[in-house]
């Protein structure tokens, strides 16, 4: 299999890690925007499981997947693990509409948002 071994994070120049950290605030905002829109679909008249909600859950999954890959790339393994957990939760919610309301991904998303914001200013 091609390149399965993880590169040492030390091999990544510090300037790239610093930019990754700074941009975590943008990632937090993107998560928050998607989560807020998803919560709005659940308080609207639209029935659960509508395409809007499904698309927003998928957007959260995509954001989590992207963060997982980048965080792992730049050596932020705890953040990558958290993003991976959210990716799994949102994938499950994407296939089971009933989980979109009660699934654990909402608090997990909020925790990830906080983690990103903390790292971006630390």
């Amino acid at each position: 299999m091609a390149n399965t071994s993880n590169p040492p994070p030390d091999a990544i120049p510090e300037a790239f890690k610093a930019r990754f950290r700074a941009r975590l605030a943008d990632r937090a905002n993107a998560f928050e925007t998607a989560l807020t829109a998803l919560l709005q679909t659940q308080t609207s008249d639209k029935p659960q499981g509508t395409a809007d909600a499904a698309e927003l859950v998928f957007e959260l999954q995509r954001l989590a997947h992207s963060l997982k890959g980048a965080a792992r790339q730049f050596g932020f393994d705890a953040l990558a693990d958290e993003a991976q957990a959210l990716e799994t939760l949102t994938r499950e919610a994407g296939t089971q509409p009933s989980l979109r309301n009660t699934g654990g991904f909402m608090p997990a998303t909020q925790a990830l948002i906080e983690h990103c914001r903390t790292l971006s200013v630390s």
């Binding site: 299999m1 992207s66 997982k68 790339q73």
Partner: protein
């Protein structure tokens, strides 16, 4: 004689990963590199660049890598062009899945930013020499 690998086109939505790819392939590897942030941009811009290798992220906004792959092949009009998926979905089954839908190779994130150029040169030599 095999044409030397010089042109690489990357399709990656994550700005941090794009910057790292740019450093790895352009600054360290010495390749000509173009970037696109999504599949639509890639379909518009890649044909004119005539890439020898396309590094294609899997989970892209609007159109996924697997959806874009056949469109890119058609748009490039170059049977020698190689398309490699670059994905954080690291598993043997994922690799098999992506090869089965037409990828020439699968590279996984996190990738070795210092050695990616060499890995691509090795792949290019292997794939163009049969």
């Amino acid at each position: 004689m095999t044409e030397a690998l010089t042109r690489i086109f990357c399709v990656e939505d994550d700005p941090d990963i794009r910057e790292l790819l740019d450093m790895s392939l352009k600054d360290l590897g010495g390749f000509e590199v173009e970037m696109a942030a999504d599949a639509e941009q890639a379909l518009r811009r890649a044909p004119a660049f005539k890439p020898q290798i396309v590094l294609l992220d899997v989970m892209l906004p609007n159109m996924s890598g697997p959806e874009a792959l056949p469109l890119l092949r058609k748009a490039l009009e170059d049977p020698a062009a190689r398309i490699i998926f670059l994905t954080a979905k690291a598993s043997r089954s994922a690799r098999d899945e992506f090869l089965s839908i037409g990828a020439d190779e699968v590279f996984f994130k996190p990738f070795d930013a210092m050695g990616l150029g060499d890995q691509l040169l090795e792949f290019w030599a292997r794939s163009t020499n049969g």
